[in-house]
């Protein structure tokens, strides 16, 4: 008995978390899937009506915009954050004297919630109040920086603020990665006559694949949760030019009382996430088993 207990203890310890995740993640996904097949309005209803909500969803031009924005935003945000984070990490890796302070400055935005900084960004990016006005005030009257109010560019303003928030964190990840590369490899490359930039591009960066994946997972997670940022910065505007699936879903569920529609958009959104994350998880766990 005691021995049985001992051998099964690890499973029992893992069980509560696992059960919780089963219910609160997968159970809820199932619930959402169910509701997405109903005509739920203000509150969920449970009579299945088929795929009407999905039909409505794909008839909605606003949803098209939202989905489109997800790819633009997600791609640019993740891509640029990684590149910028990597560059900053490499620059910081050059024996910078004030590294600690600079690192903290780069990292702190991660600590702030977007509800807080959204307003500040809104001012900074506002052509009448912020950078544009400032630069014009310096005597460049033709300077224009109107991303925030330009429906075609507003999504990039969001990307800019989102990158501001998390590129420092990515920098920290990459810095940690650079520091964990074997010193001898770098020395070997020096003796081999490889110039510094090639050392980075050909040797160090390719060997940091696991860190790219970690950064990706964190950024993907943040991209999905970039809801606050959009709400704080543009509220989805101008028009609904900066709508994302998360804000669409939220609007449907909570301000419009159209829960069925919200559920169907949530399902599509999760499908997208699933399609991106699962291959990652698969490769990650496969590698560990070898």
């Amino acid at each position: 008995m005691a021995r049985w207990f001992e051998t099964h203890l690890p499973k029992m310890v893992l069980a509560p978390s696992f059960i919780a995740v089963l219910i609160f993640v997968y159970g809820f996904i199932g619930w959402t899937a169910w509701v997405s097949l109903t005509r739920s309005r203000l509150l969920p209803k449970y009579e299945i009506e088929g795929f009407i909500q999905y039909d409505r969803l794909f008839d909605s031009p606003r949803w098209d915009t939202a989905l489109n924005n997800l790819f633009i935003f997600g791609g640019l945000y993740i891509g640029i954050s990684m590149v910028l984070g990597l560059i900053l990490a490499i620059l910081l890796d050059q024996n910078i004297r004030t590294e600690g302070a600079i690192r903290t400055v780069y990292l702190y935005p991660m600590a702030l919630s977007m509800i807080v900084t959204g307003t500040a960004w809104k001012w900074i990016l506002n052509p009448g109040l912020g950078i544009e006005a400032m630069v014009q005030g310096w005597g460049f009257p033709n300077f224009s920086f109107d991303w925030l109010v330009n429906p075609d560019m507003a999504i990039y303003a969001i990307v800019l603020a989102a990158i501001w928030q998390s590129s420092g964190f990515v920098m920290a990840l990459f810095l940690a990665g650079l520091r964990s590369v074997d010193t001898e490899i770098i020395r070997a490359a020096q003796v081999d006559g490889i110039p510094t930039w090639r050392v980075y591009t050909a040797i160090i960066i390719p060997s940091m694949a696991p860190i790219f994946l970690s950064a990706f997972i964190v950024l993907a997670h943040l991209a999905i949760k970039s809801f606050d940022l959009v709400i704080a910065l543009t509220g989805g505007g101008p028009g609904y030019a900066t709508d994302l699936p998360a804000t669409y879903m939220y609007a449907m569920a909570f301000s419009r009382g159209d829960i069925g529609q919200a559920a169907s958009s949530a399902m599509i959104m999760m499908l997208v996430v699933f399609a991106i994350i699962v291959p990652y998880l698969y490769s990650e766990l496969r590698a560990k088993n070898d």
């Binding site: 978390s17 609160f24 159970g27 809820f28 501001w164 970690s214 766990l285 560990k288």
Partner: protein, 304 residues
């Protein structure tokens, strides 16, 4: 056994610096210039918030939003902390601040502990299916929170903890264990399994090994997990607004109430002061523990 808590040694990628030529010095200055430009980029919003919070309302209405204050006043800070109205109460963000503390501290502790135990099991006590369980838990990190609001509300009601602080802690723990488990698991897989074996031979059981051997080793990754979870929980608005009731609302809800008043005159200086106050704990955590954060990331959480 290597000393797991040791700081990483810096590889000197830039190579040996020899007697600097003019070009080298220019390069160096260029490097610092770039770093400075980015520092400005990162500091700009904080600068705007800070200066605004130190201006009088009069100056804000008449002056430039992103100019330096002509006259510094801390009135806005006092108002934000203890006088600003959030509804009919005019107690500032203070009471909400303590609610947030009451939610975040246990939330962080519990989710970190659970993550540690889970990571320990997945990394060191592999059993059939453990990896699948881990993958399923990890995927939980990616569920958009808007999706879970309604069913969660229903379950919290059934469990009788709707609108309470324990309820909020519960929610944060549930959606935090995915990440904390990932952190600890990735850290613990780098610890040689021989340590577990030695302790088993020494007669220690599952919990004893965790408690006496793994937990004391975990400082770097605990820092990572705590920073991450604290930031997530402290800054959360959605759960805070949905699963609280009067008296249990966290500071983000109060901040939102101050910042998002629908009608009436906006006191931007108070808004910004409140925003900074609400962000202070997380800022402090990053500034104080940031160094260990990088170290902890190096120590394993990122090493694939």
């Amino acid at each position: 056994m290597t000393d797991l808590t040791a700081a990483p040694r810096r590889p000197d990628v830039a190579g040996v610096r020899r007697r600097s030529s003019a070009g080298k010095i220019a390069l160096r200055w260029g490097l610092y210039a770039i770093l400075l430009v980015f520092a400005l980029y990162y500091l700009m919003p904080l600068f705007v918030m800070l200066t605004t919070s130190l201006k009088s309302l009069e100056e804000i209405r008449t002056g430039d939003l992103i100019a330096l204050p002509r006259e510094i006043t801390f009135d806005a800070w006092r108002t934000a902390w203890s006088e600003a109205c959030t509804g009919i109460q005019c107690e500032g963000v203070r009471p909400y601040f303590w609610n947030s503390v009451l939610i975040a501290v246990p939330g962080v502790i519990i989710s970190t502990l659970l993550g540690a135990v889970n990571g320990y099991v997945v990394a060191q006590w592999q059993f059939r299916g453990a990896n699948v369980i881990f993958a399923l838990m990890l995927f939980g990190c990616f569920i958009p929170f808007q999706v879970v609001l309604l069913p969660m509300a229903r379950l919290l009601g059934l469990m009788g903890i709707a609108g309470t602080i324990p309820g909020l802690i519960f929610v944060h723990v549930i959606y935090g264990i995915g990440f904390t488990t990932l952190f600890f698991r990735n850290y613990y897989v780098t610890i040689p399994s021989e340590l577990t074996k030695a302790a088993k031979v020494d007669g220690a059981g599952f919990l004893r090994i965790f408690w006496a051997i793994f937990l004391p080793l975990s400082l770097p990754i605990v820092v990572v997990s705590v920073i991450w979870q604290f930031t997530q929980i402290w800054n959360d608005f959605l759960f805070g607004v949905s699963f609280s009731q009067a008296g249990t609302q966290p500071v983000t809800v109060a901040l939102n109430n101050i910042v998002n008043s629908t009608t009436g005159v906006k006191a931007y200086n108070v808004d910004m002061a409140a925003a900074i106050i609400a962000a202070l704990p997380t800022l402090l955590v990053y500034v104080v523990a940031g160094k260990y954060f990088i170290r902890g990331l190096t120590a394993g959480s990122v090493k694939g």
